[in-house]
């Protein structure tokens, strides 16, 4: 896993080598094992390397036989052995054993369609010297990040992280209020928008081609589902067999590395299945890592230990409390480079540190299974509300929601309130955002915590809707409601937050490469074709996955309902805490930045100590805290200071 940086301009001007080095070295955490550069008039490619495959000869940037195609690449091409064999048959001369080298030769063979050959997670910057064409490409679901910005003189800068763009010196960080407004509704910014004005994210499954003064954005892959009444006539066992074979093969490919590969073990179904499959695939000791929480509401160590005992893994665990999250949150925002509604990335940053300190560079994670197999409560909520909508006056149908949300059962007095909460829009089942609308409308209330001046700079709901529609694929109405909900969750929360802020960024913060076998594109495409009734059976989530692999797990883990991964928020920054985030939430700091309403934040923080905060209040605090940090770490520092991580980071 690595970091990519560089720039291109139309005129054949000599390259600013110092700027290229500043950019590349801003990514040292992504690749501590080495650096490399390619410079020619008008083009600069930089690379920081985390050596995982071909440790001796895999340095980058590298080129094809005649030096006409160069690449700087972050990620892994898991089917590289098959691709190499095919390329060699076609007469290509490969000088290294690396996966990277396949890219330049595949490009020679297939041109821009080379990406379709790749099974992997990648961010690629490829330079075709003959055509003077730059190709930026990102993997299908956005596991690896890639950003770009344009300086005043028309130079296109690109990098794995935005801090590298700012390190160039020609682009300044400025908070985009529209982006904050999107987070305070959708939980994410809608690509290509980022937290900073003028900086764009290359969306998942997308390429940017720069050639002859033109820029073309090309989406080469997107999620797709069959029409609701057009599923293949196949038996459950048939689907199960194919799922079994495909996931096995995904794990086999993703174990390819010249260094040991470990696994995260959350105690849930998905990571437990992965670890069990790794134990089957690989002889020898498997190292596993997990998080424990001091707060029992978030803790899963009991189930983790059952899997450790079951698989006899070499297990290590880090225990995290509110104090640790408070201490680490500034680093989280430094690496994640976004406003966020939760602190859940913080423990994952601490976990990746444990991994790295244990001498491990590569770790498998169970991300993606909930999205592709229908594991989230959101999907069950959608199903129950649609059922309820058929008879809106029914008490019994609404009562099914209590199966989803335990707190409803615990507080029967609140029944009338939660019924009211889920009631709005109940009968608008044709709404393309039906599954997510309640969540979004509830979240958007947190905008009240911002000052009127800052709120005025956010976009209207209509403008946001238009931006969202231009990002999403059309014709979703033909899909089954579960697929529509899955698509929104995968395209927005998974691709725009989970895989980065709780994935790549927290792992790369400590130079650890994460791999996500459930997001092998063959498995995503297979899962999309599996009929919804086999994914969400009644209200039983991930039914086919559970049925297929439960024989590998202890019964208590296989039958365990999903526990959402959460972490405490307000208590991490509350009164008496001395961490940077707590300081940035002081009245003086809030007044100075001008984003949040000081009185509103005062009230929230004073209630934090009494346990009187709801989930939405906690999200408001996390959003303001992360925004204050973004401003402090990126905007208030000079471009030159940004080339190094802040003193408290790393």
């Amino acid at each position: 896993m690595c970091g990519v940086a560089g720039f291109v301009h139309l005129e054949h001007r000599p390259v600013d080598s110092a700027a290229l080095r500043r950019m590349t070295r801003a990514l040292v955490h992504r690749g501590p094992d080495g650096e490399g550069y390619f410079e020619a008039p008008g083009i600069a490619l930089g690379h920081r390397r985390l050596a995982v495959i071909d440790l001796a000869d895999g340095a980058q940037p590298l080129c094809n036989e005649d030096g006409s195609v160069w690449v700087s690449f972050n990620g892994e091409i898991f089917n590289y052995l098959e691709l190499r064999a095919d390329l060699q048959k076609r007469g290509h001369v490969l000088r290294t054993r690396s996966d990277t080298e396949t890219l330049v030769h595949l490009y020679e063979e297939h041109g821009l369609d080379f990406v379709h050959q790749l099974n992997g997670q990648f961010a690629i910057a490829l330079w075709d010297a003959k055509r003077r064409r730059l190709v930026l490409a990102r993997d299908r679901v956005g596991i690896r990040p890639l950003f770009h910005a344009t300086s005043r003189d028309g130079t296109l800068l690109f990098a794995s992280e935005m801090k590298a763009l700012f390190a160039h010196g020609a682009v300044r960080a400025e908070i985009d209020p529209v982006a904050v407004g999107q987070v305070a509704r959708l939980w994410v910014t809608v690509p290509p928008r980022t937290a900073f004005k003028g900086v764009e994210e290359l969306g998942a499954g997308t390429m940017l081609i720069v050639e002859e003064g033109r820029r073309v954005v090309r989406r080469y892959w997107s999620h797709s589902f069959p029409d609701a009444n057009d599923y293949e006539e196949r038996s459950f066992d048939d689907w199960r067999d194919q799922l079994d074979a495909t996931l096995h093969d995904a794990v086999r490919l993703q174990l390819r590395a010249d260094v040991p590969v470990a696994a995260y073990l959350s105690g849930g179904l998905d990571s437990s299945i992965l670890s069990a499959l790794v134990r089957r695939e690989r002889a020898g000791q498997l190292k596993t890592f997990s998080l424990a929480f001091e707060d029992a509401r978030f803790d899963e160590r009991e189930f983790q230990q059952r899997m450790v005992d079951h698989l006899s893994t070499d297990h290590r665990q880090v225990s995290v409390g509110a104090h640790d999250i408070g201490e680490d949150f500034a680093d989280v925002v430094w690496f994640a480079e976004r406003a966020m509604t939760r602190t859940a990335p913080a423990p994952l940053l601490r976990l990746s540190r444990l991994v790295r300190d244990s001498g491990i560079k590569v770790v498998l994670s169970g991300e993606g299974a909930d999205e592709i197999f229908g594991g989230y409560n959101l999907f069950r909520e959608d199903k129950v509300r649609r059922f309820w909508a058929r008879e809106p006056d029914s008490q019994a149908r609404a009562a099914l929601l209590s199966r989803l949300y335990g707190y409803i059962d615990r507080d029967p007095k609140a029944e009338a309130f939660w019924r009211l909460f889920f009631r709005p829009g109940l009968e608008d089942t044709g709404d393309p955002y039906y599954s997510h609308r309640r969540r979004w409308e509830n979240t958007s209330q947190i905008r009240r915590v911002f000052t009127p001046h800052f709120r005025e700079q956010m976009q209207s709901d209509e403008a946001l809707q238009a931006e969202l529609e231009s990002y999403l694929v059309p014709d979703r109405a033909r899909w089954h409601p579960l697929c529509r909900a899955q698509y929104l969750e995968m395209s927005l929360f998974m691709s725009c937050y989970l895989l980065s802020s709780q994935g790549d960024r927290m792992m790369m913060g400590h130079s650890v490469e994460g791999r996500v076998p459930f997001l092998d594109h063959r498995l995503i495409e297979l899962a999309a074709r599996i009929p919804p009734k086999f994914k969400l059976r009644g209200l039983e989530e991930k039914y086919i996955l559970r049925k297929s692999f439960s024989h590998l797990l202890p019964q208590s883990v296989a039958s365990r309902p999903k526990q959402p991964y959460r972490a405490p928020i307000a208590s991490c920054f509350s009164a008496g805490k001395s961490n940077l985030t707590a300081r940035l939430l002081s009245r003086e700091a809030l007044a100075r930045s001008g984003f949040a309403n000081v009185q509103a934040m005062d009230k929230l923080m004073s209630r934090a100590g009494t346990g009187g905060l709801g989930e939405r209040d906690e999200m408001a605090i996390a959003t303001v805290a992360s925004l204050q940090l973004l401003d402090h770490l990126f905007v208030q520092r000079s471009a030159h200071a940004q080339q190094e991580a802040p003193a408290h980071a790393l």
Binding site: S235, F236, D237, K383, V384, F387, R390, E391, S394, Q395, A396, R397, L400, R403, K533, F534, R537, G538, L539, E540
Partner: protein, 87 residues
Amino acid sequence: MLCESQLRSDIRRFVIDELLMGDTSVVLRDEASFLETGTIDSTGVLEVVMFLESEFGLTVLDRELVPENLDSVDRLVCFVMRKKHAA
């Protein structure tokens, strides 16, 4: 006019295809309780009701959401026949 044998056949097909996931190794007895045999869990009633409403144009009221109406093939047949006759 609703034909009981056709209704029974439709309900059995639904139970086998949807609730038993096409598992034909299970002998489906028309009088057997869905809950006791594990054919559905307590939330599986959602699937059963959605089937009845979509397939037979019924509306299932809250007071009718009880095992006596919905917990076996026999009970479903009786329930649908009763509702249709009442309509």
